[in-house]
Point group: C2
Chain length 420, copies 2
């Protein structure tokens, strides 16, 4: 893709209210555009990176036997009343009337909807377990949106729901989902760890949050480095300074929440009529779990872990392109060589952003550092003279000269490593 | 995918209010679930078919140089006021206040948002043209939702917007987009033809609708079979019975609208400040076009063209699976053979729904006809005895016996044909 045709315009300055690194750099490198406080567009660069993230999430959800569907965002009041949450969610859910004076809410979460869908299709223990997920725009009436994609009024989420005949089966799937989450974070280049948390408006039971250690985090987590026990501050208010398991000293960390998984028990299945006949023919409510992961939030969290003062340093698995190809100088031979290399790489399935713009070398280098594509390739009079190209990884300092054939092999090997 | 694990439950009856074939069959075969009038979930079968449709649309959009982004659904009142459409869209757009008493609307279309995005990034004729599209849930306060996915309060749409320096450049892209639409419809197995139409709330200019001839259509179109002139009833009110071009007799058709493309001129660019400097350094408003295609609506339209009294007959390009594999009988050898074939086909990248359920052969055949996967493969005692499998295309009457090797080759050839 020629950068002169690509819809992205980098900026030297970011708005004053942008404090978090991800907010600043995603705006400056033109991954996102702010429409209003907490409301953003994913521009072509952002859309590409987000789609790569979604591909990883879908693969890991499918691998644990979850099936994808897509539920609506417009929810009639009645179904939220049957769970008793229409009133509870006032102030957090956008609620309004259509022109026929019927009330609707914009779904901030989908327990009611999914439970009704499963209730009308599952009748026997033989139909269970069921695990269904969606990737969808979500809406929350957030009074204080902040930090760009981190906390908004509209955002994208992967939400998974599971239904089980027994607590053992639920526990088994809960563990599988937890492991899938850890694999997702690892493949996205961030290290997350599960901590005990409270369930907020969802449940009174203990839940599990997945936290990423970053400077832009908003939660305090207590961690016992000795035995691995971890909990958020709310849970551990009574813990003082010692681990409740091994009695060793715990330490405080600022970390960012990236996912949250819940044991919902039979709360929703009882209220929405999701019953089944067990092996003895006895009518039982299904046992439920729900598993949330904010995908636009995770995109921002990845940047919080991978940046330096010059800009973003994407992990290869998420970068919008694999290679940033810079042609320096006006000589036609340079352009011809760059185009030949671009064509060759693309034929191998390697994504290339080719900077063909008529601007200075300094501006091209600065943009490449800001946008953060993992491998930078430079073609200039100097490299042409040597019959080589210059390559440099965004995360490394040293550049080196390689032949065109070597470049292709390196790029193919990098791509293979990410895909396998 | 084993059907015993797949989340879909077919029904013998459809709701009384379901009149259109697509509405009836998509409900009965469990592609969709109705939450409220005009509000549906895409269940796993529906999600799979819809994703295949989106892949085709993305390929054709990318091929004409359009780039994908994703805009928000929550729009602040101010931006709709700058175009003068906040009042115009009352009654059609859901409009409400957040808890800070700020007004928002749920975007039924995105001219205002995209124009503001482009305005802040394009300054010179050198930056033009720009073509951007998104695939996104849309909301319209529809008083009389009907026919399932055909006309709803919430639906999914591909909307493309283009920005140009000259009318010639706009015309050129408008024709390219029009051809891309025709390719999309063809690849989805429906024949669409462009007709002249009015612009509704969008524009006073003439526009182009893409109509599909179906029994479930809601618009009358006049067509001149002689010279090819075509227009919708509204436009052609003055035409009486003769073509305005060649004076031959025109005929009336009930057809379904599947896409709509507009010349917006400089209406939005002037109001939202999307100006550029032309070659002479003169400030000019950009010339705009917009190009809509309802993707969930198109999914229904495809069914309207491809069904018989037993159910859906998907085109290969859209079907949720390529092959429906039916194992008949309880003999373990039948199951072993079916599983071996499923594994073999999947290794070749062929999507298989394997009906391993403990129900009668009659029920399996009826479900296969209803769900509408293009190729049915049966393994039974009879086929095992002959060392063969029975295959039958959904659109053909005759079944025939082939060897396992022949089946693989046939399935691979079918898949290749669709992909190229």
């Amino acid at each position: 893709m020629k950068q002169s045709l690509f819809f992205a315009k980098t900026r030297k300055e970011s708005p004053k209210d942008a404090v978090a690194a991800s907010h600043k750099f995603l705006l400056r490198a033109d991954y996102i555009d702010q429409l209003a406080a907490g409301i953003y567009t994913l521009l072509p660069l952002g859309q590409k990176a987000h789609q790569k993230l979604l591909k990883i999430i879908r693969e890991e959800m499918d691998a644990i036997g979850a099936q994808e569907l897509l539920m609506p965002a417009l929810h009639p009041k009645a179904i939220w009343e049957s769970s008793g949450r229409w009133e509870v969610y006032k102030g957090e859910m956008y609620q309004f009337q259509d022109k026929s004076k019927h009330w609707f809410g914009l779904g901030p979460t989908h327990e009611e909807i999914i439970t009704a869908i499963v209730a009308s299709r599952v009748s026997s223990f033989r139909d269970l377990p069921v695990a269904l997920y969606q990737i969808q725009g979500k809406f929350r009436d957030e009074a204080r949106p902040k930090a760009g994609l981190m906390r908004g009024k509209e955002f994208i989420m992967k939400d998974l729901y599971s239904f089980h005949a027994t607590k053992e089966d639920f526990d088994d799937f809960y563990n599988k989902a937890s492991e899938a989450y850890l694999r997702i974070f690892k493949r996205c280049g961030v290290e997350a760890f599960p901590v005990l948390a409270s369930g907020g408006a969802f449940t009174k039971d203990m839940t599990k949050e997945f936290m990423i250690k970053t400077k832009a985090g908003e939660d305090i987590t207590l961690i016992c480095e000795h035995c691995g026990w971890a909990a958020n501050k709310e849970i551990s208010a009574n813990v003082s300074k010692n681990c409740p398991v091994c009695k060793e000293k715990v330490s405080e960390h600022v970390t960012l929440e990236a996912g949250h998984i819940f044991h919902l028990g039979t709360r929703y299945s009882e209220k929405l009529g999701a019953f089944f006949l067990d092996e003895n023919g006895k009518r039982q409510p299904m046992i439920m779990g729900c598993y949330g992961l904010g995908t636009t939030r995770l995109l921002a969290a990845i940047v919080e872990v991978h940046y330096d003062k010059k800009g973003i340093m994407w992990p290869e698995s998420i970068a919008p392109f694999d290679i940033h190809l810079l042609a320096l100088g006006k000589d036609n031979k340079i352009k011809q060589e760059a185009e030949a290399i671009e064509g060759h790489l693309q034929k191998e399935g390697i994504g290339v952003l080719y900077d063909d713009r008529d601007i200075s070398a300094g501006e091209k280098f600065a943009d490449a550092d800001l946008i953060g594509i993992p491998l930078r390739v430079v073609i200039s009079e100097k490299t042409l003279g040597q019959g080589m190209v210059e390559i440099k990884y965004r995360k490394e300092d040293a550049a080196r000269m390689v032949t065109r054939g070597e470049l292709i092999n390196i790029a193919k090997a990098d791509l293979n490593r990410v895909n396998n």
